[in-house]
């Protein structure tokens, strides 16, 4: 196994539509060939009394805002992410395309604004090139979140 660089980035979403399965954010891997591996995600609810789930996405959609990680997001501060991974945030004008059932849910954040839940993913969830990991509300409650994602590449 070669050297792995670990990155993290966090951002605050704008409020989602009050529509079930609206996206709050996503880590998108735009690289043509290179995969990345998500190892951790943290969700802090600021408004909205609904659970949030994570699932794979196959199109990026059109996010309301995007944070572009740079060398400062490298835990070793050695190199900007080669994948060009991006943190997209609500409100989306066009949602990403969810692929398959949700992978896990942030249930502790369901009912109380300000609750924080972190999920460590062990060996990680590989995100192939040209795909992403999206985060969506379960029920029709407009929601904002602080979303942070940690990944290796």
């Amino acid at each position: 196994m070669g050297t792995v660089c670990r990155y993290s980035v966090g951002g605050l979403s704008a409020i989602t539509a009050a529509t079930a399965n609206s996206p709050v954010g996503a880590l998108w891997n735009p690289h043509a060939t290179k995969s990345i591996t998500v190892v951790d995600a943290t969700l802090g609810k600021t408004t909205g009394q609904t659970a949030v789930y994570a699932g794979r996405i196959t199109t990026r959609g059109t996010p309301g805002s995007t944070i572009t990680p740079d060398i400062d997001n490298d835990w070793q501060r050695l190199i900007a992410p080669i994948s060009g991974a991006l943190l997209d945030l609500a409100a989306y004008s066009v949602g990403p395309t969810l692929a398959g059932p949700d992978m896990w849910r942030f249930m502790a954040s369901q009912n109380v604004a300000g609750n924080v839940e972190e999920v460590w993913l062990g060996d990680g969830v590989m995100i192939p090139a040209g795909t992403g990991l999206g985060f969506f509300i379960t029920t029709a409650v407009a929601t904002t979140v602080e979303l942070s994602v940690v990944w290796d590449e």
Binding site: G10, G11, D72, N73, R77, G114, V116, E146, S148
Partner: protein
């Protein structure tokens, strides 16, 4: 956490943040490239070494309040939102550690226009 050493890096393993007042805030972790002007500083010594063998060589310090802010570098590494409750808080754990190059720092700051509330703060690092 500011690393004032001219050449030696340090690596942050954990950051703890727990409210002492019952007001919401949005703490985030971000790198800094200048120290700013701190008005309260904790200077660790040999008693902060977990085996009490040696004071830390970097001279790293914990700055707590400022009259001039540090310079923030790059997007935030982590962000959370905390509820309006005393003792609400969070522990960030970094299994591979976040390297803080010589002459730079790692700050807890508010990325949005919400006042960062008083809190008990702990940094764990190795060097």
């Amino acid at each position: 956490m500011w690393n004032p050493h001219a050449t030696m890096d340090l690596t942050v393993d954990e950051v703890h943040w727990f409210h002492t007042v019952g007001t919401v805030d949005n703490p985030g972790l971000v790198r800094t490239t200048t120290r700013g002007t701190q008005t309260l500083t904790v200077t660790p010594d040999i008693d902060n070494h977990d085996e009490r063998l040696l004071a830390h060589i970097t001279g790293a310090v914990l700055d707590l309040t400022y009259s001039a802010q540090p310079t923030i570098a790059g997007p935030y590494l982590q962000r959370i939102n905390l509820p309006a409750a005393v003792a609400s808080g969070f522990i960030w754990v970094f299994p591979l550690g976040i390297r803080i190059p010589a002459g730079t720092g790692l700050a807890i700051a508010t990325p949005v226009a919400v006042v960062l509330q008083p809190a008990d703060i702990t940094f764990v690092w190795h060097e």
